[in-house]
């Protein structure tokens, strides 16, 4: 069964386009010639302060999300606002920031140059957004990695003519894609090429299958402005102190308690062996606390674990 086409256009090099997607619609970003990176921003259409967040998405799906990944909004909203339902290539990046005028000026001596920030800002201006509203981008078709020293790198773009990604909107969104303006970086193989964008209706059951995923279940900790202590968006630029401010931090003051745990000779021997590894702490109490919570994470925590099991064996 084919998706029903609603809209399509071709973005020429140096340009971008914002489109409104209703919940359940699908945005396709497609290679026209191949080898082209697409930068991408995504906003709640009815509240632009909620937008896609690379960091939460990295936490949940890693540095190179592909088919099946959700696109998460920033805390405190913290919810999936779209789903990457199709990715014919599987080479995306949410590690690198968007290129900007400054980078070409500072790194190349090119102060007037196509760049993703300015392209994105100009496309988003159609919807009243300012350059400050451009957020960290989802870089579709961008091939990146991290070297053994921990430094990121950009590798040759692998996208072929006709490769595409499809993003299913889980709420009404403004989706803004642009043809990455980096022609003097490896991002798009040193040549800017057009990209096609198209809006389709989702297939029957497609939206429901995403919304029924465990990660998509609603939590009271996914907050919206109705619970904010400051509900209005600040409209002036100057920051001034609120003299009536009274701090209201959660669970403060943090109370600590002592807890005696009885261990047998054999258990103490195990604990002392763990201390000898030098990995988990230097005292019995430190190591026992580290072990307990590490064990808990391994056994019971939902979602991706955040520590290296192999390192614990070192």
């Amino acid at each position: 069964m084919e998706r029903e086409l609603v809209f399509e256009t071709v973005m020429e090099p140096g340009t971008g386009k914002g489109v409104e997607l209703r919940r359940g619609q699908v945005l396709r970003i497609e290679q026209v010639e191949g080898g082209q990176c697409a930068d991408f921003n995504l906003f709640n259409l009815h509240d632009y302060k909620e937008h896609f967040h690379t960091a939460r998405t990295r936490h949940m799906h890693g540095l190179m999300p592909s088919t099946g990944a959700l696109l998460w909004s920033a805390p405190p909203r913290d919810r999936p606002i779209a789903a990457l339902v199709t990715d014919t290539l599987g080479s995306n990046d949410i590690l690198y920031g968007r290129c900007s005028a400054f980078l070409y000026d500072y790194q190349y001596g090119l102060p007037v140059h196509t760049n993703c920030h300015d392209i994105q800002a100009e496309a988003q201006r159609e919807f009243g957004l300012t350059p400050d509203d451009v957020h960290d981008s989802f870089n579709f078709f961008m091939n990146t990695g991290i070297d053994p020293s921990g430094n990121p790198f950009i590798a040759p773009n692998l996208a072929r003519r006709g490769d595409y990604v499809e993003i299913l909107a889980l709420i009404d969104v403004l989706a803004v894609a642009n043809v990455c303006g980096a022609d003097v970086m490896a991002t798009s193989n040193f040549e800017l090429k057009p990209l096609r964008i198209a809006i389709y209706e989702s297939l029957p059951g497609e939206l429901e299958s995403q919304e029924s995923r465990p990660e998509a279940a609603a939590h009271v900790t996914q907050r919206d402005p109705s619970t904010f202590r400051v509900k209005q968006i600040k409209a002036d630029r100057e920051l001034t102190r609120d003299k009536s401010y009274v701090p209201a931090f959660t669970n403060v003051p943090i109370q600590r308690q002592e807890l005696d745990v009885q261990l047998s000779d054999a258990e103490i021997a195990r604990l002392d062996h763990l201390i000898e590894t030098g990995q988990l702490g230097s005292t019995r109490a430190e190591v026992l606390r580290y072990v307990f919570f590490s064990w808990w994470i391994e056994k019971f925590m939902q979602g991706p674990k955040h520590f290296d099991r192999e390192a614990a064996k070192a």
Partner: protein
């Protein structure tokens, strides 16, 4: 059998997690669960299985 006391310092949020797990796992108490964690963690990470 000798026993050894290890004095842990935990805050109320950590104790909340500990107490909830004690209840869910049917442990006899905080210490019992922590000892179980030590043994299971050690056996999984540091003990070579018998061949």
């Amino acid at each position: 059998m000798n026993t050894h006391d290890v004095n842990l310092r935990l805050n109320q949020q950590q104790l909340e997690l500990l107490d909830r797990t004690v209840e869910e796992q049917g442990s006899s108490g905080r210490g019992d669960l922590i000892v179980r964690a030590l043994n299971e963690y050690y056996e999984e990470h540091f003990q070579t299985p018998a061949t």
